[in-house]
């Protein structure tokens, strides 16, 4: 492990690092692409070697071809747009609500204790069990998807925020207290930055959950979007078309994560999980 450890967490000579700096981002992306190629290769081989019948799992190349065809269709982009709209609005509402409640609950011992049992009760209730309620309230429109998305991703963020708020360094907090920073100012200057890494992880988790739920809601309820397209492809027996849409879903997931990483790097430059990439 020793050489590996060195390369990973140890002393990469800065000279090299400097040289690598330009190449680093590129080589990182290269590795990521390599990983994806490996995955696609495996997928291609499984049906080709007859491990699974091609009728049920078409080879990657066929699915990619179907996806390329999709790329040329406006209907596809309309569906993507619907899904992304539901995703974004749902995530936004969930994060806003969770951050607000998380900081309020997290910074009061009383509220934290008093809400614990209720939170734990509500959290594991599957969004899908709320489908009748959603449809009852909103029909098969985007609002139904939103209800399910917000409900599912809200808890992801809330829990992370609660943990983050609990992780505040008391020396830092006490320092702030003695300098007369009030509760709000401390939240702004101490609690928020401490909870930020947790929050970002929560948002990243929630972003994925929101996408999953957007697709699921469209799939099960039939509100417009990629999920409904998947259901249509499935019930129409268009297997390659279905996998192509699933592939598209996964790609959106990857893009969303890349975006989140970028945002994270922007606002968490001081945090040791990010810093360690630069210094150690």
């Amino acid at each position: 492990m020793s050489p590996g450890t060195l390369a990973a967490g140890g002393a990469a000579p800065p000279v090299e690092r400097q040289r690598r700096k330009a190449g680093k981002g590129a080589s990182k992306q290269l590795l990521g692409i390599l990983g994806i190629i490996g995955f696609l290769g495996t997928w291609e081989l499984i049906p080709r070697l007859g491990l699974i019948d091609e009728r049920f799992l078409p080879p990657a190349s066929e699915v990619i071809a179907a996806l390329v065809v999709d790329f040329g269709l406006t209907a596809f982009w309309v569906a993507v747009g619907e899904t992304m709209k539901a995703w974004f609005l749902g995530l936004l509402m969930a994060v806003a609500a969770a951050v607000l409640l998380g900081f309020i609950i997290g910074s009061s011992d009383f509220l934290r204790k008093a809400t614990n049992s209720t939170i734990e009760f509500l959290r594991p209730i599957p969004s899908v069990a709320l489908i009748p309620l959603a449809v009852l309230l909103f029909g098969v429109k985007i609002e139904s998807s939103l209800l399910l998305i917000v409900y599912a991703s809200f808890w992801q963020v809330l829990i992370q925020v609660l943990y983050g708020v609990a992780d505040v360094d008391m020396v830092a907090n006490n320092t702030a207290k003695t300098y007369g920073l009030g509760r709000l100012a401390r939240i702004r200057y101490v609690v928020f930055p401490t909870a930020l890494p947790y929050l970002m992880t929560g948002v990243r988790l929630a972003a994925a959950v929101a996408l999953v739920l957007a697709i699921t809601a469209e799939l099960v309820i039939g509100s417009p979007g990629l999920g409904r397209e998947i259901a249509l492809a499935q019930s129409g027996g268009a297997i390659s078309g279905m996998y192509a849409l699933v592939l598209a879903t996964g790609l959106i997931g990857v893009l969303i994560n890349m975006l989140m990483r970028q945002i994270e790097k922007r606002i968490l430059g001081w945090h040791s999980s990010i810093r360690s990439e630069v210094i150690v």
Partner: protein, 281 residues
Amino acid sequence: MQPDATEANTEATLSVRGLKKVYQTDGGDVEAVRNLTFDLRAGELACLVGPSGSGKTTLLKCISGLMAPTEGEVLLDGKRVTGPPKKMAVVFQEYGRSLFPWMRVRDNVELPLKNQGVPKGERDRLVDDALEAVGLSHVPRSYPWQLSGGMQQRVAIARAIAYQPEVLLMDEPFAAVDAQTRADLEDLIRVVWKKLGVTVLFVTHDIDESVYLGERVIILSSSPTVIQEDIQIDLPADRDQLNTRSLPRFTELRHHVYEQIQLAKKGHRPAAATSGGAGTE
């Protein structure tokens, strides 16, 4: 001593009365501080010395309202301290953790002022002066973790000075800086103290420093802690590193403090304290 104490109380800015602190741990109770009583007059500069683990940090945390004493109380301007009082600045022993890693040096120093609503112009002046005074005007845009230990400690000091507190508590604030810087900072503290008339309680391990700096030196016994001795430092008010330290009286006082700490470390306890704390023995 009784009448003296009550009289002192009326003009005292800071009163510590019968302070006791017991920590509860899974290995049983730890009596860190047994019984501390003393007063600081407004504008007094007192140094606190005592063996490692004698409860200096504990005492400072109680005074700054960050920790509730097990028994006894702390009064500030006659009012009982229950939370961090306004216009008090504390420089913590754990300087590395008391700076916000997500803010640059300048922002760290500026934050308390900003929070108080000090107007931008004055804020800038105060921050610049403070950074200048601790010799850090060249790194305002660095993050704390990009600084050396001594520099971090000086940022914490700059933050306290810029804040212009009425009471200043410092817990071994010069532990990580070199001898020359230390001397400069000692003089800085005296200048600030004189200029602002601030009440200072200064924890140090350096006996010379306590004598050079303080108007008064409070010596703590080893844990469970009582006051070993409380000495008035009758050196001239104008001090300078070369002359003051070579005064015969300086050497005398220095020796006295040294001996008392030696005694404290050996477990010797002052008669008064022993009788005072007799009930708890």
